[in-house]
């Protein structure tokens, strides 16, 4: 799957966990998802679950760096690194 396809899928998922009072298009790819207020810090757990279920990632061997889930760009970078 290409980066663009991953991005489309990720954005569709984030749309389901974002705060209802925040529009998805107000956040750029490099903006912090939590710091911009789009999602709360708890939603990071759901992003972890999304990566585990959708992409088959197993973080039990490498651990999770919350900073690597801080923006759409960071998550896509993480996906690329782990898929390489």
């Amino acid at each position: 799957m290409t980066r663009a396809e991953h991005k489309r899928k990720l954005i569709a998922f984030i749309d389901t966990i974002r705060r209802p009072d925040m529009a998805l298009d107000t956040v750029e790819e490099h903006d912090g998802l939590v710091t911009s207020g789009l999602i709360d810090s708890l939603a990071l757990l759901e992003i972890i679950t999304f990566l585990e279920v959708e992409l088959g990632f197993d973080f039990s061997d490498t651990g999770v760096d919350p900073d690597q889930l801080s923006s759409i760009a960071e998550i896509l970078d993480l996906i690329e690194r782990r898929s390489a």
């Binding site: 966990i17 705060r19 939603a43 757990l45 585990e52 973080f59 760096d65 690597q68």
Partner: protein
């Protein structure tokens, strides 16, 4: 300009374009240094921060080297404070700490080449070694380890360094330490900007991410640092006003001046010690005021550390960010003591979350939350207070740890329920109908109540605390 806009302009001074432009110039940086020095003047930190800040502002590209130089000063000051005086003991501890940090750094840099068992269990091995060393300071004869002051210093240093070394190893696990230098890790392991056993600013990965490289980013960081130091003054002043006017305690001889105006309310510790001596409304008012006072103290001390870190060009998050406005228990926990929460999340919550109960979402959250807020919380405090706990013996230690265990249990359960509720709320078709004020009040109530089992002094027994809790409801 309306009052609201004026307040926003002052509170967001670090985002003001003209101030940012000024702080990016040599004259502006000199001004920042002067203001920072004046704001730090009442604290002993000024003697170390002010000269180092001058160097960092002149040559920010060398900040890691300057701060690492400051680390030597930090270690020396800590050893002297703990009474280490002989050159042999001092030199021995310097070498010991240096070797320990270097070994952690080497392990992090060569993480992918470590044996599989070590890679999978690096944090556990680190803590087993640290705990073994700590136990060794009690079991081995004094003559084997140097003098008693050196042993005491070691008992202070181990809980301080172990979490920071944990962050060094985490950067190894994440692969980011490969291209790092030794000094990139030294300056946060022995931080000149202050702190407690909790690593404010976390470790290499977090600091690198928030390191201001360009002049404009550095200017923003400097202004954000100044803003926090101003808040230190405000919150410290407010806390002292509380001490004088609410509790009627004396500060700098001012107690007698304001004696006629003081409310003379009891501290929570006094209420717990003798609950029958006070009326019920006084007791309820006092537990909420205690939460307010604790928040002010934590905000002031955290802002001092993060303010200095920002002045050195690491624009990291605050330690305390408006927790009293939090509308859920989990949100308060996130805002109240951010770097302690991050420690528990990174070393306990996430490792448990990614490796257990994947097919059972709620059980997964429960296990991870209890691993962090309960087990991790207790372990952190037992490690930190180990010397005191050993000195009071097994029964005394249990008397002290018992109430904290109960506090941590309530905290863990509260956070877990709050997390699950927040997840449900996010997935709900209609937003919550309860008012924000009601939610805030609920959060205050929860934290004020559980603090009964956490408040100092540790000598207050579980029975005393529980009796006081029941007395709040007329029982």
């Amino acid at each position: 300009m309306t009052l609201g806009r004026q307040f926003e302009a002052v509170s967001q001074l670090h985002e003001h374009p003209r101030l940012i432009e000024l702080a990016a110039t040599a004259r502006g940086r000199a001004l920042v240094w002067l203001v920072a020095t004046l704001l730090l003047a009442p604290s002993s930190l000024v003697y170390s921060i002010s000269p180092l800040l001058a160097l960092v502002l002149i040559a920010p590209q060398w900040r890691v080297q300057f701060l690492s130089g400051g680390s030597i000063w930090v270690l020396g000051r800590l050893l002297i404070r703990e009474g280490v005086s002989t050159p042999a003991a001092m030199g021995g501890l310097f070498v010991l700490v240096g070797v320990a940090l270097y070994l952690c750094y080497i392990a992090a840099r060569s993480y992918s080449r470590l044996p599989g068992f070590a890679r999978r269990n690096a944090q556990i091995i680190l803590h087993v070694v640290a705990c073994a060393a700590l136990i060794g300071t009690w079991l081995l004869p004094v003559r084997f380890l140097g003098d008693s002051h050196a042993i005491h210093a070691l008992r202070v240093l181990l809980p301080f360094l172990v979490w920071r070394c944990g962050y060094v190893l985490l950067s190894g696990r994440r692969g980011s330490a490969v291209n790092s230098g030794f000094l990139d890790h030294v300056f946060y392991c022995l931080p000149i900007f202050g702190g407690t056993p909790v690593p404010y600013g976390k470790g290499y990965d977090h600091l690198k991410r928030h390191r201001a490289e360009q002049a404009e980013a550095l200017a923003r960081s400097l202004l954000a640092g100044i803003k926090l130091l101003v808040l230190v003054w405000l919150w410290t002043g407010l806390r002292r006003a509380m001490t004088l006017l609410v509790y009627g305690d004396d500060i700098h001889g001012l107690g007698s001046v304001v004696a006629g105006y003081a409310l003379n309310l009891p501290h929570l510790r006094e209420l717990i010690a003798s609950p029958d001596a006070f009326r019920l409304p006084t007791a309820w008012l006092s537990i909420f005021l205690e939460l307010f006072a604790v928040t002010l103290e934590l905000a002031a001390s955290g802002h001092m550390v993060i303010g200095c870190l920002r002045l050195f060009g690491f624009n990291v998050f605050r330690n305390t960010y408006k927790p009293l406005l939090a509308q859920s228990i989990v949100d308060f926990w996130n805002r109240f003591y951010y770097y302690f929460k991050e420690l528990l999340v990174e070393f306990f919550f996430l490792p448990t979350y990614v490796s257990t109960f994947k097919a059972h979402p709620r059980l997964r959250i429960l296990a991870a939350t209890m691993a962090a807020a309960f087990l991790g919380n207790i372990y952190y405090h037992v490690l930190r207070d180990s010397e005191e706990l050993v000195n009071v013996g097994l029964t005394g230690a249990w008397m002290q740890v018992g109430p904290r265990c109960f506090y941590a249990l309530l905290l863990g359960l509260g956070i877990c329920v709050s997390m699950i509720r927040e997840q449900q709320r996010r997935g709900a078709a209609t937003p919550s109908t309860s008012s924000p004020l009601r939610r805030i009040a609920g959060v205050w109530w929860f934290y004020a109540i559980i603090h009964i089992w956490n408040v100092e002094p540790a000598e207050l027994t579980f029975a005393q605390r529980t009796t006081f809790f029941l007395s709040l409801f007329g029982l």
